[in-house]
């Protein structure tokens, strides 16, 4: 958050409609994303009640656990859900791209596409994470045998939830968060957590303004919550009697249909909202670095898919080295993601300009042929003076690059009120005269920033067997136990 975002919120509040926070779309939207609207039973950690799932607006499957406390019904649900999700994963691979062999001559490939899962909110992500945790250790043999698809689903859901933590990844996304990345509303972040209210501000129905649409969205009768928590009044007045009727009927088909109907009524409004949101996102032009980030997602997907058969389910807790490496990866991804968004989008770059880490303005003066002849050989070092009204908070000597063409680098030579003098150091070709068009001309609008993609490189971590004693020494190899498989799920 910054004054810039806050200002957009103020304007949204006054105008009664959301204001853009981005001029391009910063996330990938798949051609056929798998939209999931899960519900869980109140009071339980991860007892699924229902899920509405599908990869097209007119192709929704409703799965319901008619008695969520019944373990067998729960695993039956997990098995059906697994088939849908796993089928989507398998059909979202696309073609196979051959990549140049790796350093040690390994064959490398990348799938042409990857599955994308969309849930309404963070709670939905948390639910998938817990559902993954509660199913991935299950055994397909022995006294508590489950359908073979169940532990496979658990491992995939765990993997998706893990990728969700990865900044910039689009494999699993919470819709409220994606929308908040692109629009500011005139309500607080707490209220933005309600998908219906948030969309009400962004794209109000005819005849309503943002606040009116958001107010309507807060009534659980007209707009049921987007899950995974249900509306307590619905629980007490509709769901509980319907489940009781199902129990009394001994699993009668009609009682189950009535229950399904009631739950469908809770899920369908959110389903429509999800696809409306997908449409809004698709209408935004894609940011320049989005395909690159999706390529990283595809790499991650390819790797996990290829090694799935050889690997154990993810351990309950990461061993120290893996945890440290993961944290480091997340930090690097965050850093790169922040920079990429700013380079892609002048509205995001404006945040850095406001913070003084970037400055924009018009070139007032330019010496494109200036040479630095103090060394043995002359070097091309054009001078560029940029007039700017931005509050520059960079020091003389800082390396900056051009936001529109990050290859063009320079160094701040002089800072004066309202102008910055730069010595350009790279990105103009190898000759002693700059490549045509590489040095901005007087009158041109430019923006330079100290931001850079990949400002810190990959660190080295010890192998698992060299885990230092400070971190408990080498951990034992993780092997899932029977106890994991037999864990109660009540």
């Amino acid at each position: 958050m910054s004054a810039l975002t806050s200002l957009a919120q103020l304007r949204a509040a006054v105008d009664g409609i959301a204001q853009p926070l981005a001029t391009v779309r910063h996330c990938h939207v798949a051609e056929a994303p798998l939209v999931l609207v899960p519900l869980k039973l109140a009071g339980e950690a991860a007892a699924p009640l229902a899920v509405l799932v599908g990869a097209a607006r007119d192709d929704a499957s409703l799965l319901v656990v008619p008695q969520p406390r019944n373990r067998d019904l729960r695993f039956q649900f997990a098995a059906e859900f697994a088939k849908l999700v796993l089928n989507h994963i398998e059909t979202s691979r696309g073609g196979v791209e051959e990549l140049p062999p790796g350093k040690d001559g390994d064959e490398r490939i990348r799938y042409g596409d990857a599955p994308q899962l969309l849930v309404p909110n963070r709670g939905g992500v948390g639910f998938l994470r817990l559902l993954g945790r509660s199913t991935r250790f299950r055994s397909t043999e022995g006294p508590y045998a489950v359908d073979p698809a169940v532990p496979v689903l658990g491992r995939w859901l765990t993997w998706f939830a893990d990728r969700y933590d990865h900044p910039g990844s689009s494999l699993l996304r919470a819709m409220t968060e994606v929308l908040r990345l692109h629009w500011a509303t005139g309500q607080s972040s707490l209220e933005d957590g309600n998908l219906a209210a948030l969309l009400g501000w962004i794209d109000p129905p005819d005849g309503l303004d943002g606040p009116a649409a958001a107010a309507r969205a807060e009534d659980p009768v007209t707009c049921p919550p987007a899950g995974p928590a249900t509306d307590p009044t619905f629980d007490n007045e509709v769901l509980a009697p319907a489940i009781a009727a199902y129990d009394r009927s001994g699993g009668d088909h009609r009682a189950e249909e009535r229950l399904r109907g009631a739950i469908a009524g809770q899920l369908e409004p959110t389903w429509e909202l999800m696809w409306r949101a997908v449409g809004l996102l698709r209408a935004l032009p894609e940011g320049a670095s989005v395909p690159g980030r999706w390529e990283r997602d595809r790499d991650a997907f390819t790797y996990y898919h290829q090694t799935f058969g050889e690997a154990y389910p993810q351990a309950r807790r990461d061993p120290p080295v893996r945890a440290a490496r993961r944290l480091h990866d997340l930090e690097r991804a965050q850093d790169a993601y922040d920079a990429q968004r700013a380079f892609d989008d002048p509205l995001v770059m404006a945040e850095y300009r406001l913070a003084g880490q970037a400055f924009g303005g018009v070139v007032t003066d330019c010496e494109p042929d200036r040479l630095d002849e103090t060394g043995k050989r002359p070097k091309l070092r054009p001078h560029l003076r940029v007039g700017t009204a931005d509050p520059v908070r960079l020091d003389v000597g800082t390396t900056v690059c051009n936001a529109a063409r990050p290859a063009l680098k320079g160094k701040i030579v002089e800072l004066a009120a309202g102008s910055v003098l730069l010595e350009l150091t790279g990105g103009m070709g190898r000759k002693l005269t700059a490549e045509p068009g590489s040095v901005p001309r007087p009158g041109e609008r430019v923006c330079f920033t100290s931001l850079s993609e990949g400002s810190f490189g990959a660190a080295k971590f010890p192998d698992r067997e060299d885990t230092p004693w400070t971190h408990g020494g080498p951990p034992e190899e993780y092997v899932p136990t029977d106890e994991d498989a037999e864990e109660e799920w009540s």
Binding site: A13, G43, L354, A389, S490
Partner: protein
């Protein structure tokens, strides 16, 4: 303090005072700057009823599934004289619990009168502190002075005596999965437990003992992973205790707020209720929605007067404390000359406005030049 009591009675409009529970007392610490909440809570006004009367009913319902699950789990842990709980304390936490005595203080000889129950709690705890007898005291009825009034606390907890010290054991039904629980739920449990620790400490010092004999370490008992099997974890509630004590001390000075209010103010039902409530200043923040019955009314009021706080504390902070949206936007577009103390904020806002407009204008120019598809333009216009 006694002088304020008649004032507080009048504020309730003749209704009996609403009793606090640990949840409401813990919630007092959530928004200490709110005078409205302070006054209403001190007077024991039924805020839920007031909010309903005002047309802003609070949406704090609880699902019967959650209630059933919570009760079942608690009953299971406490079954057979807390057999499962003792196993947890001994084996799970490695505590040396020697002999065991379990006293349930819920009902005294068929009588559920509060004074009687509280007297029994006092008596038993006094004996326990002197002789070291007794291990588990279930459903103690505690008392805490809130703004000069004695509030009875009906804790769903067990006081557990170990090596001469009392610990609070709180049973909650949210799951601990692989050693981790939802942070918000743990935080809420810690705040509530702190209330019980404080009330127990007050009782212990009334009985002439060192209040430190009530430990700041409470034990949280929750279901493990996805099962019904309980697991116990120690929880240090010192930070919550400090906040709570400071907040309660502040509450007792409610008379100062009362002095500034009209002498005939009352929150009794009637046409004048809304005006009466508005007389006392509120400090609404979105966090209020999580714990205060008045939140929807206050939010409506905050929005109506364009308060920046309604957008969230961070927005208000970003705006350097400018209170209203109108002022902030006027500072941003330069139509209002800032006072000296707002000069910096105003400069920042003006820069922000310029940068935002510049970025949006550049994109708009580009879009027009590049002739986008009708859908793309429609979407962008729709969003702008």
């Amino acid at each position: 303090m006694t002088e304020t009591a008649p004032d507080l009675d009048r504020l309730r409009g003749g209704a009996p005072p609403r009793n606090h529970d640990a949840r409401t007392i813990a919630a007092l610490t959530a928004n200490p700057g709110c005078a409205r909440r302070g006054v209403m809570d001190a007077a024991g006004v039924d805020k839920d009823a007031v909010a309903r009367e005002l047309g802003f009913p609070s949406p704090f319902g609880q699902s019967q599934f959650a209630i059933t699950r919570g009760n079942a789990f608690e009953a299971q842990v406490k079954a057979d004289g807390c057999a499962e709980l003792l196993t947890l304390l001994r084996d799970g936490l490695g505590l040396a619990v020697p002999e065991v005595a379990y006293d349930d203080l819920e009902v005294v000889a068929g009588n559920e009168g509060r004074e009687l129950r509280h007297a029994r709690t006092r008596r038993l705890l006094a004996r326990a502190l002197e002789s070291g007898e007794g291990t588990l005291f279930d459903h103690p009825l505690l008392r805490l002075e809130i703004a000069g009034q004695l509030a009875y606390l009906e804790p769903d907890v067990i006081a557990f005596q170990l090596a001469g010290r009392l610990h609070v054991i709180e049973i909650k039904s949210f799951a601990v999965v692989d050693g981790q629980a939802e942070p918000e739920q743990v935080a809420a449990a810690a705040r509530q437990s702190a209330v019980y620790v404080l009330a127990l400490r007050r009782l212990v010092s009334e009985l002439g003992h060192d209040p430190a004999r009530v430990s700041h370490e409470v034990f949280l008992v929750c279901p493990e992973n996805f099962s019904n099997r309980p697991v116990a974890a120690p929880l240090d509630v010192r930070p919550q205790l400090a906040v709570l004590e400071r907040q309660l001390a502040r509450l007792t000075r409610i008379d100062r707020i009362l002095d500034a209010l009209p002498g005939d103010l009352t929150f009794g039902p009637g046409a004048a209720l809304a005006d009466a409530v508005r007389t006392v200043e509120a400090r609404y923040a979105p966090e209020c929605m999580a714990g205060c019955e008045m939140a929807f009314f206050c939010r409506d009021e905050a929005r109506a007067c364009g308060a920046t706080g309604a957008l969230g504390r961070s927005v208000r902070d970003d705006l350097g404390g400018v209170d209203t949206i109108g002022t902030a936007l006027a500072l941003a577009d330069g139509s209002l000359d800032p006072s000296d103390d707002l000069a910096e904020t105003a400069a920042q806002l003006r820069t922000a406005a310029r940068l935002r407009d510049e970025a949006l204008a550049a994109v708009r120019a580009e879009t027009l030049a590049g002739a986008p598809t009708p859908e793309a333009r429609g979407a962008r216009d729709g969003a702008a």
